[in-house]
């Protein structure tokens, strides 16, 4: 990424927290001791990003800087350091495919190519209708259920090309697909039910 911030028609529109977010922001800032308000820059940027539909326009960076009385440049440093902050607009569904070693060994290449093919976009691109943005991320910590993707705030795990396409289609239709494993499996438990401690009673005793 060479450009610090993206350009968009809305980039120059002034930014301000909504009344609801303003209340949240004040609560967040109050968690930090007097004189350490700048520590709230990460949660506040996240709040701003959510308000802006998944990305941070430049006025939002300045707003957060002014809100915390810190130099705009320092906010820019934080916002560019963390990959979770998007400085260019993203689609309504922000598809982040993990391609770190465990996911890669379990077939993330197939997931990536399914996304590319089905959405008709490349990495770090957004579909023409503004619905989907595809990106590649490092380990999201769900290796037990590799390969996986994160879409907005939700994890979808145990994917392959086919289930990925199914997932995208469901999202396209406006449905809310089941999060977590996309195979018969309870969270990280073995596929097809327990293999040990079969007689154990969950109520104990």
């Amino acid at each position: 990424m060479t450009e610090a911030t993206g350009s968009s028609s809305s980039a120059e529109a002034p930014f301000a927290f909504t009344a609801e977010n303003l209340a949240k922001a004040k609560t967040i800032v109050a968690r930090y001791p007097e004189g350490r308000q700048r520590s709230a820059v990460l949660p506040l940027l996240d709040l701003a990003q959510r308000q802006c539909g998944g990305w941070l326009p430049e006025p939002a960076l300045r707003y957060v800087g002014d809100f915390l009385k810190m130099p705009h440049m320092a906010v820019m440093e934080v916002a560019t350091f963390y990959t979770m902050f998007n400085l260019k607009p993203v689609g309504r569904h922000f598809v982040q495919v993990c391609t770190t070693t465990p996911c890669w060994l379990r077939g993330s290449d197939e997931v990536v190519s399914a996304c590319k093919k089905h959405l008709g976009i490349g990495m770090n691109e957004t579909t023409a209708d503004g619905e989907f943005t595809l990106t590649e991320v490092e380990c999201l910590g769900a290796c037990v259920n590799a390969p996986m993707v994160q879409i907005n705030d939700d994890y979808y795990e145990d994917l392959d090309g086919e289930s990925m396409v199914r997932l995208l289609d469901a999202l396209k239709r406006g449905e809310t697909p089941k999060t977590g494993p996309q195979v018969e499996r309870q969270t990280s438990a073995p596929v097809g039910g327990p293999t040990t401690l079969k007689s154990s009673d969950s109520s104990g005793g």
Partner: protein, 687 residues
């Protein structure tokens, strides 16, 4: 006071020292890129690795506190190997473009590579390329060369106090930039060029102009503000190629302001390189003899009461002395060196000096600003106040227009009556000053260059006396000048003689016809319209306001072109050295006056510079001691009368256009345009 051993040498260093400082105390040179004495410790270049006994790994000496019984080695094979490894990593993404890099020849990375570099690269991959950044008309960027030492970032946020440079992205993609590629807006921004250990930030006006080793270096002083910053003038042939700071802890430390550093291109433009005489309403080139003859003809049988002389902002003490003595011999008493109309007396000396001294600011624990914007008038005084504020969080209050000075300022309001309230103790800030051990006030020309300036001066004196600013070993009364000539001229008493007129009187006289001849020694900051029909003799360097109005022009030498003396705002007498010859027919200023005196039949009694300087020292004892400060004794000063309820103005509206040299500089013009655009934007809709 930890005691440790460095390469077998036992050293004791002050508490809170680092291992690197201990190594230096032991006389060992430690290579470094990110470490800088005046900046916070970053510890990110890793070049300063040394070996410490009992430590399995080499340690970064700049970030390791020195402790008792440490045993440090700086010259073992392990240290050498570690530094070679660090350097090899630094060079991985560094382009091999030294032959076209302006830093070449004075580059830390180049030097260290000579000591620790491999003879060839082991890197077979592509080097990373980084997009150029825009940092304004002064700083040229070649960011591919950057090694991310972050000195520039730390300078901007710590010393300059304008945190506009930062690091974006991370790891392999890390880049240094200003916020959205905006031009740096600090008056000290040029110092990042000196701080940059590689060729990432270089001087834009100096780009591809010369190589460091082909320049002739002259140690001199700056006159574009009243600090007398110590500078080095680098010249090639007859041209000043660049200006760099010299270390002087008492004045500029190792910084200089952007004006000092970059206004030198004004020395090459609009220059007066031969005498001119106005004939038939038009200025026509003339010889020196013709110019002098024209003056002699005009002064034939003159009435001294109808002649006046004004001294400008850049004049050296030698020429002021020569002008004063010439005027005395002619019987002229209408003299003034305060071309801005400041109501400062020529005695006592403490009435017009920055008595605390610039270094003394670091002892102050409360500051009151009166009608001054130190950021524009003396950027390094402002940096000192900021330094003191960073160290001790001292209260700073301001009576005058509200300012952004890079540290918090309590705005008391722009009401001159506040001075009286503080002096009689009825204002709450009086208590703050009284409770401080070393309180100080800074009185700007904005408070003095007004009709009631003398009364303001008296009020300020009462503030100083009533709040304990005048004590044994401490004088907190400070007048901040922004004209390099002023203190020297006041030392020489270039003020109205008995029955003489001051600046306002001279201008009124010229307008009404009572004054018929006006001699301007580099005086350009007055309203030339007011000179009316007077015959104007202008001696100076540039075709600025004075020269346009003149009837006779005598071309003088600029500060880089003469050996001359200036006195800074603290009263420190310093000598500038001649770096290049004046252009064309231009001559050193005192010599012009000496030659003119002969034509007028009142020959001045000195034939060489030594004789002028002997006369200087005889007339004003301050000139006998160079580079030193003699505390000025305290005495009563200031005028009677009431202070008008008119708010204070500020003397400098445009930082980049304060004298003829700056106004002739295209670089300064570019900076000024950017600054005014920024001001407009700030007052407009932009957040």
């Amino acid at each position: 006071m930890p005691t440790l051993t460095v390469d077998g040498i036992e050293v004791t260093v002050p508490a809170n020292s680092t291992v690197l400082q201990a190594c230096e105390a032991a006389g060992k040179e430690i290579p470094r890129f990110c470490y800088h004495e005046r900046l916070s410790i970053a510890g990110n270049c890793r070049m300063c690795l040394v070996e410490m006994e009992k430590s399995p790994k080499p340690i970064a000496s700049c970030a390791m506190p020195a402790a008792d019984n440490m045993v440090i080695h700086t010259d073992t094979p392990m240290v050498k190997k570690a530094r070679e490894g660090v350097l090899e990593f630094l060079l991985i993404n560094h382009p091999l473009d030294c032959p076209i890099c302006d830093q070449g020849g004075e580059c830390d990375l180049q030097d260290e590579t000579m000591a620790y570099g491999h003879n060839s690269s082991r890197l077979r991959e592509h080097k990373r390329a980084v997009r150029e950044k825009f940092m304004g008309p002064l700083i040229k960027t070649t960011m591919t060369r950057c090694i991310h030492c972050t000195r520039c970032v730390r300078f901007a946020s710590e010393i300059a106090g304008v945190p506009e440079i930062g690091v974006i992205n991370r790891g392999e993609h890390m880049e240094i930039t200003t916020y959205l590629d905006r031009a740096a807006s600090s008056e000290l921004s040029g110092n990042v060029i000196d701080l940059c250990p590689v060729g990432a930030l270089t001087s834009k006006p100096f780009a591809f102009a010369a190589r460091a080793w082909e320049l002739r270096r002259t140690e001199s002083i700056d006159v574009l503000d009243a600090l007398g910053s110590n500078i080095r003038i680098d010249a090639r042939g007859r041209e000043v190629m660049r200006v760099l700071p010299r270390l002087n802890e008492d004045i500029n430390e190792e910084w200089i302001s952007d004006k000092t550093r970059f206004a030198y291109d004004g020395l090459k433009r609009q220059r007066l390189d031969q005498p001119y005489v106005r004939r038939g309403g038009k200025l026509a080139p003339a010889t020196w003899a013709e110019a002098f003859a024209a003056i002699a003809a005009r002064l034939k049988g003159f009435d001294p009461k109808r002649v006046a002389a004004l001294v400008g902002d850049l004049s050296d003490a030698e020429s002021v002395l020569a002008l004063k003595e010439l005027m005395q011999k002619l019987g002229v008493t209408n003299l003034d060196a305060r071309q801005d109309g400041a109501k400062l007396p020529a005695a006592p000396r403490s009435a017009y000096l920055f008595n605390t001294t610039i270094a003394g600011i670091e002892q102050a624990d409360a500051v009151l600003l009166i009608g001054s914007n130190p950021r524009f008038e003396a950027a390094l005084v402002n940096a000192r106040i900021r330094k003191r504020w960073l160290a001790a969080g001292i209260p700073v209050a301001n009576i005058g227009p509200a300012l952004d000075l890079t540290y918090p300022v309590v705005e008391l309001g722009n009401n001159p009556a506040l001075l009286g309230a503080i002096a009689d103790g009825s204002h709450p800030f009086a208590a703050t000053l009284r409770d401080a051990k070393n309180p100080m006030l800074i009185l700007g020309q904005g408070a003095l260059a007004r009709a009631d300036g003398a009364a303001v001066l008296a009020q300020a004196r009462r503030v100083a006396e009533s709040t304990g600013m005048i004590a044994e070993g401490w004088n907190g009364f400070n007048v901040l000048h922004h004209a390099a000539a002023r203190v020297g001229a006041l030392d020489l008493g270039f003020v109205p003689g008995p029955g003489g007129l001051d600046r306002d009187g001279i201008l009124q006289g010229a307008a009404s016809g009572a004054i018929e001849v006006v001699y301007l020694l580099g005086a350009d900051e007055i309203d030339m319209q007011k000179l009316g029909k007077a015959f104007v003799i202008y001696q100076g360097t540039h075709g600025d306001a004075g020269a346009h109005r003149a009837d006779v022009i005598l071309p003088g030498a600029a500060y880089t072109e003469k050996n001359a003396t200036w006195v800074n705002t603290e009263g420190r007498v310093q000598r500038g050295q001649k770096a290049v010859a004046p252009p064309g027919e231009a001559r050193e200023d005192w010599a012009i006056l000496r030659a003119l005196s002969e034509t007028l039949g009142v020959t001045l009694p000195y034939d060489d510079l030594d004789a002028v300087r002997a006369r200087l020292a005889a007339l004003a004892p301050a000139f006998a001691k160079l580079d030193a400060i003699e505390p000025a004794p305290w005495a009563a000063f200031g005028g009677e009368g009431a202070v008008a309820a008119v708010p204070f103005g500020l003397p400098i509206a445009d930082y980049f256009f304060t004298n003829p040299i700056c106004r002739a500089s295209t670089v300064m013009a570019e900076c000024s345009a950017l600054a005014s655009a920024r001001r407009e934007k700030a007052t407009g809709t932009h957040g």
